[in-house]
Every structure is written in structure tokens, then in C-alpha cells.
């Protein structure tokens, strides 16, 4: 990563001298259905560092990419939600393990993208890894915390249990590309939903790095789909998509109201941007957000059965 950054800066300065070894650059692609395709539109857009240096060209997801992502997420839903909570916990913990192994990559990436010092980036990366650990531990507990039996006035067994809503479109925070992203994404999948994430538009690279972690962490293809690009462009299609069950508008910014209006048409659940949505990574540091980001993406199912002989 460090070399690539140096390389990028040199490129920017129009270096006249060839380096001893030419670094291999990464092509930043979408993460769709477990694969890393370029946008079907063939479009990309330049991503720059906090200093304005060119870092990479990210795929500019199109309306059709968004549609494909929803299809992939829907397809993965039955399998993912049908796994045991224990298994989902194992997989989320695996995500944290693999991230830990790549913490230098994430730290460097974040420091450049955010323009922060390494110590600050370390803090954020650590918190992001810990966030996955946190939700790995929630997978087999939220049902007990949120559900339970109801003492109805009659000879009936009556039990309420939370179930995942389905396909959730997550508009990731714009100014918090790693910890913010992890904070909104992990609870969605911890509860058995599948996700289509529209990453931070200006800082999408951490999300693609995370996708590479996901692809090697036993997360089944399609459970998480990451689209780099413009919320303003693909968001309206996702918000109005009838096969999308919920929206997290954390990073929707000025588009939030329009997306919520579009979602109304098919009664898509909406989590409005909270107080942390406009903040940077530091706004997401609370180590114990509780069930606040899980319950909006859960449905309560109540089952009755007579008790008799």
C-alpha cells in the first residue's frame, strides 16, 4: 500500500525517473454476488486522497449494477437467514480475523484517504475490526433480547421472535469509510439480512478493501454487495425498488428525503440518518451501540398455538 501511495504521488508529479521496481496497482472493482466485476457500464471515476492526489479509479456503479446487486442479495437471503445464528457469528468473527491480518493495509489506506496520522488511523481500524467482533457476538443473542414469550389470556403458547427484514440497501456514511461502513453493515448482516451497500462516494477504497476481506471470510457470495459510485445516481432506483425491504439512509445526505419518499411506494422500511451520520469516523467510535442498528432491520413474528391434550 505504501509503495502504491508513493507511486501515485510520483505519478501526480509526473516523475521523470523510472523506479527500481514498478508497483502493481490494484483495480478497484465492485463486489457483486461474491465476484469482483467492473461496472457493466464500463464507467469509472477518479478517487483522490485528502490532499487531492489521485489514488485510483473506482468503478462507477450503474442502475443496472444496482439491480444486479439486489438480485444477488435476494438470492442469497434464504440461505443466509436460514443459517444458524451460531454459524453467522462464526463468519462475522472470521471477517474480523481476516481484517486483523490486513490492518496495515487498512491503516495506510485510511491515513491517505482521510489525511490523518497513522495513530488516528490505527484507532479507527481497531475500532472497525472490533465492531465486527461485537456483532459476531450479537448474532445468537438479539433474538433472546428482542423476542420472548407473551402471557396471553388463554390456553395458548404465544411467542414473538425477530426475523430479518430481507434485502437492505445501506447508504454508507460519506465521511466514515471504514468504521462508519462497518458500523452500519455488520448489524444488517448479523441479523440475517443481506445487503446492498452504496459506499462513500468520495472515499470508496476502504470498502473495496473490505470486500476483499469478505470474499475470503466465508461470507457467502451475495450476502454483501458493494457498489462504489454516486448515491444520487443509483440511490433513487434502489430506494424505489420493490424487492428492497429496507433502507439505511446513514450516508444518503441531501438525498435522504427523496429516498424515503420513494421507499414509501412499497412500504420499504427506512432508518433515517442519525446524529452520527454526518460525522467522520470518530462519530462512530461508541463501542456499544446495542440493538439500535439491528432492530430497524428486524420484523417481529408472533406465533400462536393452542395448549391442549
Amino acid at each position: 500500500m505504501a509503495e502504491r501511495r508513493t507511486d501515485a504521488k510520483k505519478t501526480a508529479r509526473k516523475a521523470t525517473r523510472a523506479p527500481a521496481r514498478l508497483a502493481v496497482r490494484k483495480t478497484y472493482k465492485l463486489y457483486l454476488g461474491g465476484a469482483f466485476p467492473r461496472s457493466e457500464s464500463g464507467r469509472s471515476y477518479p478517487v483522490t486522497s485528502a490532499d487531492g492526489d489521485h489514488l485510483a479509479n473506482a468503478s462507477l456503479a450503474s442502475r443496472k449494477d444496482a439491480r444486479d446487486a439486489v438480485v444477488a442479495a435476494r438470492k442469497a437471503f434464504t440461505g443466509w437467514s436460514g443459517r444458524t445464528a451460531y454459524n453467522r457469528g462464526q463468519i462475522l468473527y472470521r471477517v474480523a480475523e481476516v481484517m486483523e491480518g490486513r490492518r496495515a493495509q487498512f491503516t495506510d489506506q485510511l491515513a491517505v484517504a482521510r489525511g490523518t496520522d497513522r495513530a488516528e488511523a490505527e484507532t479507527i481500524v481497531s475500532a472497525a475490526i472490533d465492531r465486527w467482533v461485537y456483532y459476531a457476538g450479537w448474532t445468537d443473542k438479539f433474538a433472546q433480547v428482542i423476542g420472548g414469550s407473551n402471557p396471553v389470556a388463554g390456553p395458548y403458547y404465544n411467542h414473538s421472535a425477530p426475523e430479518p427484514t430481507g434485502v437492505v440497501v445501506v447508504f454508507a456514511p460519506q465521511e466514515a469509510p471504514l468504521l462508519g461502513l462497518s458500523s452500519v453493515l455488520a448489524p444488517v448482516v448479523a441479523t440475517g439480512n443481506t445487503a446492498v451497500v452504496v459506499t462513500s462516494e468520495t472515499e470508496p477504497l476502504a470498502a473495496v478493501d473490505l470486500a476483499e476481506v469478505l470474499a475470503t471470510s466465508d461470507v457467502p457470495g451475495g450476502v454483501i454487495n458493494l457498489l462504489t459510485g454516486r448515491a444520487g445516481e443509483i440511490g433513487p432506483h434502489l430506494a424505489a425498488h420493490a424487492d428492497v425491504d429496507a433502507l439505511d439512509l446513514a450516508g444518503a445526505g441531501e438525498h435522504a428525503t427523496g429516498f424515503e419518499e420513494a421507499a414509501a411506494e412499497s412500504l420499504t422500511r427506512v432508518l433515517r440518518p442519525g446524529p452520527e451520520a454526518g460525522g467522520d469516523e470518530r462519530a462512530w467510535l461508541d463501542p456499544d451501540p446495542g440493538t439500535s442498528r439491528m432492530s430497524p432491520f428486524l420484523e417481529t413474528k408472533t406465533v400462536w398455538h393452542p395448549i391442549g391434550v
Partner: protein, 313 residues
């Protein structure tokens, strides 16, 4: 009285078991809810008057005590023939019901009234006796002039899964009855579940019962509304499948007019109005009759009479 079924052929354990376990289950809570719903039917004025007379005509006026004497039976028979000596419009009851050794007293007392005599038999109420004793019990009652036999099934055999034994006893008693009508008492209070009530009902019907009866009156609970409901469903379904009408007799615990009318509503809305006749529905009771008479008087006069206006037996 219903057409008496011909004595069925012997069946194997396997066949019987397959048949009984092929019957749909009964959800106890659902059955209780349906019975309770029907118990809220409001039967007033003219409908109530008709229901009371119908109920009187369905009463099997019963005495089944160790202390029964010829005198006690004669007194009951007088009451059965003319429930209200001051009102000749009151119908007579369906039958009287006595122990086998009192059948002769009852037959004599009821001569010329057209009222039948039902006798419990087969080592009533427990049924714990050798088959031969049960059969001789039955034959004696028939010989003394009983027109109906109320036998008990072997609940021990039923609960232990020995369905052929239960079945064969019924067919044997049926044979001993000859043309005398056979009521088969399931003693539902000992069967514990409504699934068992349904199975026992169909087992008895298949073995040739002319009536299925809930209880001996010696075990509680007896004729609860859900039990009566399930038994009415059994005779309804049997009629639908074969065209044969089998009667139902709740006995035990039906003490007042409200309970009796609730039973008639159950009949009306479950088996259907075909069963609203003493030929197909009886109520085994003793104290019920006086309450029916009191309610009858209240309806016609508008005032509540006191118990001493009715004879105790």
C-alpha cells in the same frame, strides 16, 4: 329408534388400529372454543318453550344407587309417565334408566305408558368383570323386559390399546341384546383426551352401537360440552359416510334447563336437526327434570315457582 345395525364382522387389531388412527385429530382448545361459542346462543320465548318440552321428552330419568328399592323405582316411573301431575300438556320422558335387577319393577310400573326401560349392564359402572358375567347381566335385563341396554366399554382395554377386546365385547353384548337397543357408554371422563373420545365413539359405532353415551354418572368430568360436541361430530360423520343414524346420550352433570338447552343447541348446529328427537338424542339425568318443569311453568305463568311445587320423585 334408529335402525339397528347388523352385527359387524370380526376385525383384526391392525385394521382397527389403522381405522382409529386414521381419524382426524381433535384440537382440544378449538373444540372447547366451539362448544363455548355455541353455549352463548340465546334461546328465548317460544323457542325456549319448545326446547323445554323437547328436552323433557329426551330425559332418561335415572336412578342408579345401591339403595334403589322397588318403591323408589315405582315412584320414579310415576314421575316419568306424568312429570307434572297438575299439567297434562307436559310430555312424558324418553325412558327410565335403572340397574338390571330393578328392570322388572320398572317394566311393571310403566306398563301401558309406552315409556321404555333402559338398563345399565355389563358390570356397570366399572365394567371390570369377565365377559360371561357381562353377557349374563345383559341377558337378564333383556329377559326382564328392558327395551334399551346401556353398556360400559372396557376402558382399561381401550387405554392399553387393546381395541379388539373393546370391539368384540360390544359386538357380543349387541348379540345378547337381540332387538333391544344398545347404548354404549364410553365413560369419557376416564378417556382423558378428545382424540380418545373420537376414537372410542367410532369404535363403538362400528361395533354396532345404536347410541353412544358419554358417562356412567359415577365419574367426573362427565358430559362436558366439548365431549358432547365430538360425539355429535362422530355420529354426523358416520351418517354422512353410511347413511345410518346413531344416537347420542350425554349423561351426568346436566342439572338445569340452561345446560339442557345448550345441549340441544349443540345437537342442532353439529349433527343437525335430524337428531332433535328422543329417538336420537337422550339426556341421562335425575334432578334436571324438575328444573325443566320449573322453567316451563315460569315461561307460561311469568312467575318463578318454588321447588316444593314439584314432586321429588
Amino acid at each position: 329408534m334408529p335402525n339397528t345395525a347388523s352385527v359387524p364382522e370380526a376385525v383384526t387389531d391392525r385394521e382397527l388400529r389403522a381405522y382409529l388412527y386414521g381419524l382426524p385429530g381433535v384440537d382440544e382448545v378449538g373444540a372447547a372454543a366451539r362448544a363455548k361459542d355455541l353455549s352463548t346462543r340465546s334461546i328465548k320465548t317460544t323457542a325456549k318453550a319448545r326446547a323445554i318440552d323437547l328436552a323433557i321428552s329426551m330425559v332418561d330419568l335415572t336412578t342408579l344407587e345401591g339403595a334403589d328399592t322397588p318403591g323408589k323405582v315405582r315412584a320414579m316411573c310415576a314421575k316419568a309417565a306424568r312429570p307434572d301431575p297438575e299439567d297434562r300438556t307436559v310430555p312424558s320422558v324418553g325412558a327410565v334408566c335403572v340397574y338390571p335387577d330393578r328392570v322388572g319393577n320398572a317394566v311393571e310400573a310403566l306398563r301401558g305408558t309406552g315409556i321404555g326401560v333402559a338398563s345399565v349392564a355389563t358390570a356397570f359402572p366399572s365394567g371390570r368383570a369377565p365377559l360371561e358375567a357381562k353377557l349374563s347381566d345383559t341377558r337378564a335385563a333383556v329377559a326382564d323386559g328392558a327395551s334399551e341396554i346401556d353398556m360400559v366399554i372396557d376402558r382399561g382395554a381401550f387405554l392399553s390399546g387393546d381395541y379388539p377386546k373393546v370391539y368384540e365385547e360390544i359386538t357380543a353384548v349387541k348379540e345378547a341384546c337381540g332387538n333391544t337397543h344398545l347404548k354404549v357408554i364410553l365413560e369419557t371422563g376416564e378417556l382423558s383426551t378428545l382424540d380418545n373420545v373420537r376414537r372410542a365413539s367410532h369404535l363403538a359405532i362400528r361395533a354396532g352401537a345404536d347410541f353412544i353415551k358419554t358417562s356412567t354418572g359415577k365419574v367426573s368430568p362427565a358430559a362436558t360440552p366439548p365431549v358432547v360436541l365430538v360425539m355429535l361430530e362422530a355420529v354426523r360423520d358416520h351418517h354422512r359416510d353410511t347413511g345410518r343414524h346413531v344416537g347420542v346420550k350425554p349423561a351426568g352433570g346436566i342439572r338445569n334447563t340452561k345446560d339442557a338447552i345448550r345441549n340441544l343447541v349443540l345437537v342442532n348446529e353439529t349433527a343437525g336437526p335430524d337428531w332433535l328427537t328422543p329417538d336420537l338424542f337422550r339426556i341421562g339425568a335425575s334432578s334436571l327434570l324438575n328444573d325443566l318443569l320449573m322453567q316451563r311453568t315460569r315461561l307460561s305463568t311469568g312467575t318463578y315457582p318454588g321447588p316444593d311445587h314439584y314432586t321429588q320423585d
